[in-house]
Symmetry: C2
Subunit: 458 residues, 2 copies
């Protein structure tokens, strides 16, 4: 156990020492025992000269795995400095699905340069993958699946798989296709193992195979893998022809990306800031720029909405006389309560809408509304007691308590309705952020306060 | 494709019709073609009588898969109504890891009842799993792995695996153990396929096998699976003895749970509310109660902090004369800006702290600070222009602009520091919620505003 914990630093020191002493044979032997992702960690820590030297002596297969998983900056640095012929051999070993993912992040020029290096066949495959819209299943899939024709028997199929497995990354499932390459069934290796050699594939396969369309959102694939506990899901085109697979490690990547994305957005920032923040190589300047770009528009909108709040607040001058001046100073309390409930309700509604598995329906709305009534009642009782010690003026206590109550209930109402309406109009509720909800609730809150004061004090 | 989309409703109608007409043989044949999770959907929609009738005629293996994946309420309903002998046969087919997960959710009494039904051997395994602390790797692992002794050759190993595979859910990796059952290596089925029959396992295995400790947090397993693109990670005890595996579908479940958890917490609600909300069977009453319980304490704390804000705000009476009364009405703007930046910075910091992969270090703090300086500058320039149209009083414009600037920078400072400090003290930054950050920033904001006004106006 301990060995593993320290292995990152230990490996780096070992590698550095061997490189400095030109012990390259020993180095290759050492690296053989490590996972490529551990070697990638070392490569990232080395300076550029050593990094290129080490990368060049890696076995093609390891170099390919690293390029499949690396950050685009690392990729560009390697590609710009490694011999073209060597690079072509590495690309030959790579999953075109992963290579396409990296190419997506590069500019047109760099992309074409890479497409120029790879073999004709790989270029075709890459262009096919790159043609898919970003975040569709087609753009996420890879080609390394194992398929067999439904007319083979078990013995023939095993022979076929043993040959094909050389190219496939891992064998997840064995997909069964007809003569037109249409997906008609699925088999596990285990099913194959446990069947007699002369059974026909068609007779032992499971016909009801779960698949996603190549133009479907990749979220469909996430849901399917998660619901049916799959390790891979096949992707088919409109005719049902098998085009690729999305494996569970791609699904994990998608889930990781989308998990923190929602919270960044809700806090009033952007996907882009998250991407830059999670890239360990990004400079402070890049981070600051992404941060400013991601947040400034939300802050501006908040500022403008706050001016509206201030405008309505100014009107209090006219209706509040000196004996009720306390009403003005309790405005932050009155506004904060509506804003807090608004943020809670909108966060919950947005999560439900994004989950999509169930519609945010009447029951969710009722739940938010009833809960806010109960919460508002509790808060108002406690606030009234505290207020009684601050001011004995019954009018003031009534006006504040009533406004807090109404604002909390309106917070739940608007916090639920705003994301639902935006979702209907834009089909993306995550444009609603907590600063905006809180600024909108400030405006509503100050207007409610004004009305209540007009009624109870004048 | 279309067939699949409508299949849920279609299957339900089909099943219902066959059950009403007692066509049970036909029913079993139909169900044979569907995934157990689709059958589970139908079971959930049926009334209790039909549900039990249908569950009883399911093949043992399907019934077991359904119980492995179902909600604890469904589980209890089935267990309470199905014949004990039949139940024992179903449990016999279940993964004890999944059964243990469900038992964890039941009360002591129901748990013991189940432990009484299962075989002696399974009971022992269940008690071993239940002994682990919740959310450790040991509590998440299952037993269905395939292992071979390092001293076998390929032919012997394949024979052994073909026999053992009958019990294992799926073959992910083949783990290699020594005579003391200590984990010493790993093999893929593919490695085995491609090796000659008389190679020794020890010679073809990969020695550097990634594993997690049984008492480690299950997050360790998530990180390992995600970093190294694994479909399963072995769990070992302190001596290095192989105890179980955590498979990628467990990892997906963990990730799904934790993803929405963070946002619920940040919005000022609780894990428990999320669990209830995501359980489709929970009643409106249960939902409202969980919602009130999850949120009321945050709302109370917000209310109390807002009283503190109001208290400081009252002091403005003394320092603001009638000609500067506008200063009071711009308080919501001044406070909203500090609160918004505070929420943004704290959300980003909490995500980074939870990710844990990199410490929230000096660079993150600097990034938040510098960005807030830039954002504050932009907002202040624009606000000053708007303010100029509202009031030509230079003192007022200066006081408001300066306070907005300072509050935004303090929002970034405290938004970053509060989660970091809480994390150091409590090791869980997610106790910081957006309503609290915004209420704390209100207090700080109003004090800053007071000081600025004292300096510039008096």
């Amino acid at each position: 156990m301990d060995k593993k914990q320290d292995s990152a630093r230990e490996l780096y020191d070992q590698v550095k020492e061997m490189m400095d002493n030109n012990k390259f044979i020993e180095l290759r032997e050492t690296l053989d025992e490590y996972h490529t992702m551990d070697i990638y960690d070392v490569l990232q820590d080395l300076d550029e000269v050593d990094r290129l030297k080490l990368f060049e002596i890696l076995p093609l297969e390891s170099a390919a795995s690293i390029l499949e998983e690396c950050e685009s900056e690392f990729f560009q640095n390697i590609v710009a400095n490694i011999d073209r012929e060597h690079l072509r051999n590495i690309f030959e070993e790579m999953s075109m699905g992963d290579l396409a993912d990296i190419l997506r992040e590069l500019d047109e020029g760099s992309r074409e340069k890479i497409l120029d290096i790879v073999s004709k066949e790989d270029e075709e495959e890459l262009r096919e993958l790159l043609a898919y819209v970003d975040e569709t299943s087609g753009s996420t899939m890879k080609k390394g699946y194992v398929s067999v024709n439904k007319n083979l028997n078990v013995e023939q199929a095993i022979k076929h798989i043993r040959a094909e497995a050389l190219d496939a990354d891992s064998i997840y499932y064995i997909y069964v296709v007809d003569n037109l390459q249409k997906l008609v069934g699925v088999l596990s290796l285990r099913d194959l193992f446990l069947s007699s050699d002369n059974s026909k594939i068609e007779d032992i396969m499971v016909e009801n195979v779960k698949s996603v369309g190549d133009n479907d959102d990749r979220e469909e694939a996430v849901k399917m893998v998660s619901k049916y506990n799959l390790v891979a899901v096949p992707v088919t085109d409109e005719e049902g022809v098998l085009k690729g697979i999305i494996t569970v490690d791609d699904i994990l990547d998608v889930m990781e990306e989308e998990a923190s994305e929602d919270m960044y957005k809700f806090a009033g920032s952007s996907e882009h800031e998250r991407d830059v923040a999670e890239n360990e190589k990004s400079t402070l300047k890049e981070q600051v720029l992404s941060c400013v770009r991601g947040r400034i528009s939300w802050l501006l909108l908040t500022a403008i909405l706050s001016f509206v709040t201030a405008f309505f607040f100014t009107k209090f001058k006219v209706i509040v006389d000196d004996s009720h001046i306390a009403l003005i100073f309790f405005a932050p309390l009155v506004l904060a309560m509506g804003g807090s409930v608004g943020i809670q309700s909108s966060a919950v509604t947005i999560i439900n809408l994004l989950d999509n598995e169930k519609d945010v329906d009447y029951q969710t709305f009722m739940k938010e509304l009833i809960s806010s009534l109960i919460n508002a009642f509790v808060i108002v009782v406690i606030s009234s007691i505290i207020l009684y010690f601050v001011t004995q003026n019954a009018q003031i206590i009534t006006a504040i308590s009533l406004t807090v109550f109404i604002n909390m209930v309106l917070g739940a109402t608007f916090g639920t309705l705003i994301p639902i309406v935006v979702n209907r109009l834009e089909s993306d509720p995550s444009v609603i952020t907590s600063p905006i909800i809180s600024a909108i609730m400030d405006i509503i809150g100050v207007i409610v306060y004004y009305i209540i004061i007009s009624i109870f004090i004048l």
